[in-house]
């Protein structure tokens, strides 16, 4: 996984030249804040990483800064989108305020106002429920700034869920004690699908309201870390190569697709972050960047279809538990006409089947 550019943050500390910092201010927007901005309360008590807010001496909720919890998630600018978030004791978001960002959408293209409108949609969302851009959260306000939107979504959800775990609202996921089996068996494409080692989402053109026939995208996902899944999908040479790239305990997930829809998009080309899909597990949201990725151009297993796009994505964060299920969210932009761009979001759950565990 990514989560880069700590380096550039560090380098900032070295720039002594005022002219230079003045220039950078053009690219950075910082705002004042107070906890009341996002939670109605009369008293705030500092806890580790968050405030408890009290109204009439009764606990009303929590207020927290995203950078305490998810500083590794960075926007198109390569910098964290610092967000102040309020949440009540049910897990409903009570308010969200942007306190720092340097996203280029404010420089060229969109007005910052649109971004702030986008943020407003999070009020009253419950963080125990799935909240995805393109589904619960509309992209209408900031069409085009998908990297910003997707990263912002991840920042709010992951920060809130982590605080919910810390405050006892949510239970942290428990590892099952199982581990990945290192045994190998040759499997065909049908066998991989039947065993659910590979799972798919099919999005038809019809359900998107498009005129063409057939499937817009068939998206497949597989955790290719266990040899019986990985070698059959990637082939021995590529599997070995992938395994030498990751360390023990880290995971590699293959995502690939058929059809004219694209799950990779082009947002990652400049910003580095893939903005059309992410993986969620428990409170954590994993976004991927071009540093955590290798191109996958064909599937080895006998009977496998030709694919249009594919990638092997690495999850290097130690908080990801490979033997537990995760959710894959696909955010699919498409055009109803040359002028009309829409977004839809699709989710699927994936877990490595029992037979590949021990």
């Amino acid at each position: 996984m990514k989560r880069l550019i700590l380096l550039s943050a560090l380098l900032f500390a070295f720039y002594p030249l005022s002219a230079y910092s003045d220039q950078w201010k053009l690219f950075e927007h910082r705002y004042e804040y107070k906890p009341e901005d996002v939670l109605q309360a009369t008293k705030f008590v500092q806890k580790k990483g968050y405030w408890e807010g009290f109204k009439d001496d009764k606990l009303a909720g929590y207020v927290f800064l995203s950078k305490e919890w998810t500083s590794k998630l960075v926007g198109y600018s390569g910098k964290h989108l610092e967000t102040l978030i309020g949440m009540d004791t049910n897990g409903d978001i009570t308010g969200v305020k942007i306190i720092f960002h340097s996203e280029p959408i404010v420089l060229i293209g969109l007005k910052e106002e649109y971004y702030l409108n986008f943020i407003k949609q999070y009020k009253d969302r419950n963080i125990k429920e799935p909240v995805s851009v393109g589904k619960e959260i509309s992209m209408d306000a900031i069409t085009g700034a998908t990297v910003t939107a997707v990263v912002q979504n991840s920042i709010i959800l992951e920060s809130a869920r982590k605080v919910a775990e810390a405050a006892g609202l949510l239970k942290a996921a428990q590892a099952s004690g199982k581990k990945l089996s290192q045994k190998y068996a040759e499997l065909t494409w049908e066998e991989l699908k039947k065993s659910e080692a590979v799972k798919s989402i099919v999005v038809t053109t019809k359900e998107l309201g498009l005129e063409d026939e057939g499937d817009y995208i068939d998206l497949y996902v597989a955790n290719v870390t266990p040899p019986s899944i990985g070698r059959n999908i990637l082939g021995d040479v590529f599997y070995k190569d992938i395994m030498s790239t990751i360390k023990e305990g880290e995971s590699a997930v293959a995502i690939f697709s058929k059809g004219k829809g694209s799950f990779k998009g082009s947002g990652f080309a400049r910003g580095g972050t893939f903005d059309r899909f992410n993986i969620e597990q428990g409170s954590k949201v994993y976004l991927f960047t071009d540093k955590d990725y290798r191109v996958l151009s064909g599937i080895k297993a006998e009977g496998a279809p030709a694919i249009n796009e594919g990638g092997v994505f690495f999850i290097k964060d130690r908080d990801f538990v490979p033997v537990l299920p995760f959710k894959l969210t696909l955010l699919l932009p498409y055009r109803l006409s040359a002028a009309k761009k829409e977004f839809r979001s699709f989710r699927m759950e994936y877990g490595i089947p029992e037979r590949f565990l021990e």
Partner: protein, 619 residues
């Protein structure tokens, strides 16, 4: 032959019908093919997935978003550079400046590259080969010669960048370069095609002009020693056991005119015995000339050199992937000479005559130049005058030789003859210079394209034809155009390099890396340190005085892969680029007063055009 277009893929009808087992189907009937059947050909990366029915019918289409199966490394001839070409798409993926000035990247402009180039700005790259481990590529380095200025360059494959250039003393027309194949590349050999006096005394008589077989320490990139012979030394090869290197010679006459060079009716394949070279070095059996240990390998003076007579003026020498044979292509003779490598020890020991190492001399065609291999016992030779690629079977040639002249006359060794367009020089099959030759593709590097492309003026592109060699017959599938003037190439399986090639530099590998922008002045010497971070340099302006000697050092601090920045200084004739985390520097004299904008030349950001800064030179 009619083509059927299904989806995005064109399929040859006959092979399709055969593939589906319906060869008898009426012509013109439409054929429905399930998506995944057609796609099989796309899975070339999985050898297992190929059926026999596809032999000779490989798909060469690389669709948008797909990758090539091979990295092709092309020499650039007198353009002085190297190129990376994707195979089978034949797309030029990159150029690697080596001996040439390249204003795009700043090679030959930056201090770092100028230091390597050492004042020279022209080069003629002929033979490019990779470093080896156990008979196949280890993915570390490429080596390439410069025929004009007698140099050897090394390219590190993680960055695909030239990292060393060395001069080879006592040599002219440096040619025929080949790395050690076994157990790994410790030595690298290179030849002297033009004999000269050694040392280079202008008054020396013609019979004291010598050819030198130079041995280079491939890791240190330093000349280890040279073996001096009367003959010129043309192309080179090393064996698969780490025992010998060998060279063809077309001027054993020590001639200085064409007629003198053609005088003798035979020339040689010259073999060098590596253990005996080591022994000569141990015993100090050499003279130091221009700082190099020169071992005397002249006729009658040495047991290091074996001269195997072959018909006059031969050209290429190539070793079969099983390591058994050296094939010496005849050029002036229409034959190839097949030398059995197992016999070399006997000949060195004096137990057999040198000519007894030749086990076959099959007739190939007019002007055989170079030979490559399919890994299935066949050789494919480029034939210049006939303008053909000739596929022939080595075992059958040897068998016919044993049976005698009558059997040879029937030319039982010839498998297929392919017309190419036109006048082929080098020829190379995928992985053919390794023990893993896979017999999939061949590129015929044709010297003339003539009428194969739209007319672009009197200077035409080269025509490099891609040939499917997976079947019995050779099949041309693509005309690839190239600019001046690749000589030779290798094609390396993608999986062998892919894990080793990096997306960004290791910033602190370069001691000059800038972490803090600023200007430092020491008298007239000014150092300007700049970070480049889209869309800004670390400074907005720099003040200089006329006559300052200015060094600008730029480090790219953007980590995103492919985000390269440029640095050009207006009216000061300076440009270079820095890739993610790379550092480069340039030094110039600020001799023109005024305001000069420096700007980013490599598109980097939506505000790329705003990425500029002033250099104010005060009078």
């Amino acid at each position: 032959m009619s083509d059927e277009k299904i989806g995005n893929k064109k399929i040859d009808r006959r092979s399709l019908l055969k593939f589906l087992g319906v060869a008898g189907a009426a012509a013109g009937a439409s054929v429905m093919v399930p998506d995944n059947v057609i796609s099989e050909s796309k899975k070339m990366m999985f050898a297992k997935a190929e059926g026999d029915s596809e032999k000779g019918r490989q798909s060469y289409e690389v669709k948008p978003g797909e990758y090539d199966d091979y990295y092709g490394f092309w020499s650039g001839g007198h353009s002085g550079e190297l190129r990376i070409v994707g195979i089978p798409s034949m797309r030029e993926l990159r150029r690697i400046p080596v001996f040439n000035v390249d204003c795009g990247t700043g090679w030959g402009i930056t201090n770092e590259s100028k230091k390597l180039m050492n004042g020279f700005i022209v080069g003629d790259t002929h033979h490019v080969h990779g470093s080896y481990k156990d008979g196949t590529y280890d993915g570390k380095y490429l080596y390439v010669n410069d025929k004009i200025n007698a140099r050897i360059a090394r390219i590190r494959l993680d960055y695909m960048e030239t990292d060393a250039i060395i001069d080879v003393p006592n040599a002219q027309g440096l040619h025929g370069t080949f790395p050690q194949r076994h157990p790994k590349t410790e030595w690298l050999v290179s030849n002297t095609e033009f004999q000269i006096p050694v040392p280079n005394n202008p008054g020396a008589p013609q019979n004291q002009y010598y050819g030198l077989h130079t041995i280079i320490d491939a890791e240190k990139m330093a000349v280890l020693c040279q073996i001096m012979v009367e003959e010129n030394l043309d192309l080179a090869a090393t064996d698969y056991q780490g025992k010998y290197s060998m060279s063809t010679s077309y001027n054993s006459e020590q001639g200085v005119t064409v007629s003198e060079m053609l005088a003798a009716d035979h020339d040689y394949l010259i073999v060098f015995h590596w253990e005996r070279i080591r022994e000569a070095l141990r015993k100090n059996n050499y003279k130091t000339i221009n700082g190099v240990k020169v071992i005397d390998g002249r006729r009658g003076k040495s047991d290091i050199v074996l001269r195997i007579p072959v018909p006059k003026n031969p050209h290429g020498v190539n070793i079969s992937p099983d390591g058994k044979y050296a094939v010496c292509s005849g050029k002036v003779s229409p034959t190839c000479s097949v030398v059995e490598i197992a016999k070399l020890d006997l000949a060195f020991a004096g137990k057999i005559k040198p000519e007894e190492c030749v086990v076959a001399q099959p007739e190939i065609g007019l002007g055989p130049l170079h030979t490559t291999f399919d890994g299935r016992g066949n050789a494919i030779t480029s034939v210049f005058i006939d303008s053909t690629n000739v596929k022939w079977n080595i075992a059958k040639a040897i068998e016919a030789e044993k049976q005698g002249p009558e059997a040879k006359k029937a030319r039982p060794h010839i498998v297929d003859v392919l017309d190419i367009h036109y006048q082929v020089g080098h020829i190379m099959a995928t992985m053919a210079e390794t023990k893993e030759a896979d017999g999939k593709w061949l590129v015929s590097l044709n010297k003339m394209s003539k009428d194969r492309f739209i007319n672009v003026g009197p200077l035409k592109p080269e025509c490099e034809q891609l040939v499917d060699i997976s079947g019995e017959k050779l099949r041309i599938v693509h005309d690839g155009s190239t600019y001046i003037e690749p000589h030779d190439c290798i094609m390396v399986r993608r999986d062998m390099l892919e894990p080793k090639v990096k997306h960004r530099y290791d910033m602190f590998e370069n001691p000059l890396a800038v972490t803090k922008s600023g200007v430092e002045r020491k008298g007239k010497d000014v150092t300007v340190r700049l970070t480049a971070n889209a869309p800004m340099y670390g400074l907005q302006e720099v003040k200089l005085k006329k006559g300052d000697k200015v060094t600008v050092i730029v480090t790219n601090h953007d980590e995103i892969s492919d985000l390269t920045h440029g640095f050009a200084l207006s009216n000061y004739n300076i440009n270079f680029i820095v890739s993610p985390f790379q550092t480069k520097s340039v030094t110039f004299t600020a001799d023109k007063p005024g305001v000069y904008w420096a700007y980013c030349t490599n598109f980097c950001h939506a505000l790329h055009l705003e990425m500029r800064m002033r250099f104010i030179v005060e009078a």
